[in-house]
């Protein structure tokens, strides 16, 4: 079964600190790796995504690091703020001629940033 394993389940970080969430995937054919952010009572929203042809992608305070050989990728939130408190989901997908956009999601990480 295709799985994406995410850790930790929950994370508490002080304001200004670095938050790190990790994901590991099994299917070596996956070639699209997004992170979604979800606030309480809302649906998830795309935060940042990476393709396996690069090892890192940065957008503002958010960075994805990708290790193809280890089949792992991680989300780094620099200078974490209380407004970043949310649940984060990693996901993986297979892109190709029969692409249906299906995503395999990790289990989620609840991040709390303390002021």
């Amino acid at each position: 079964q295709q799985q994406v394993k995410q850790s930790p389940q929950s994370l508490i970080v002080q304001k200004g600190g670095i938050s790190i969430i990790n994901c590991a995937y099994e299917n070596t054919a996956f070639d699209y790796f997004p992170w979604y952010q979800q606030f309480p009572g809302k649906g998830p929203a795309l935060l940042i995504a990476i393709r396996p042809d690069v090892s890192e992608k940065k957008e503002g305070r958010f960075t994805i690091s990708f290790n193809k050989s280890a089949k792992q990728f991680s989300l780094h939130i620099m200078d974490s703020q209380p407004g970043d408190s949310a649940t984060y989901f990693c996901a993986s997908a297979l892109v190709g001629s029969s692409n249906t956009g299906k995503l395999i999601f990790g289990q989620g990480t609840t991040l709390q940033v303390k002021p």
């Binding site: 699209y32 009572g41 929203a45 795309l46 995504a49 989901f89 892109v95 249906t100 956009g101 299906k102």
Partner: protein, 116 residues
């Protein structure tokens, strides 16, 4: 634009009852998806559709049916509700994906369903 709208937002059912969850999107998206979200299990795909009149099974389709009669609407049905179907249900939509890229999925705010 409203984006993705889910109806209802909350519902309590008794075991064996049936109901339909409605998802409507106003972004002219080709693809639509139904997920369920359970604690510690992330989002799991129930059914999806790549166009009007087409549907396909996802990871956890048992006990659910779907229909996509109009491009903007995607309906999720529970024929005989069971307590194991207590969950938060999310609908999402996206533009048609490409050979080398995925389009972001836009989610509604969910339907919280409790089955007693």
């Amino acid at each position: 634009n409203a984006g993705v709208t889910q109806t209802p937002k909350f519902r309590v059912l008794k075991t064996g009852q049936s109901m339909t969850l409605l998802c409507a999107q106003d972004m002219n998206h080709e693809y639509m998806y139904w997920y369920r979200q359970d604690p510690g299990m992330g989002l799991r795909l129930i059914h999806y559709s790549v166009g009007e009149g087409t549907t396909a099974k996802g990871e956890v389709p048992d006990g659910y049916n779907v229909s996509r009669l109009k491009k903007q609407n995607f309906l999720l049905g529970l024929e005989s509700a069971a307590p194991s179907q207590t969950s938060v249900y999310f609908c999402a939509s996206s533009y048609q994906t490409g050979v080398r890229s995925n389009q972001p999925q836009h989610f509604g705010d969910g339907t919280r369903l409790s089955i007693l």
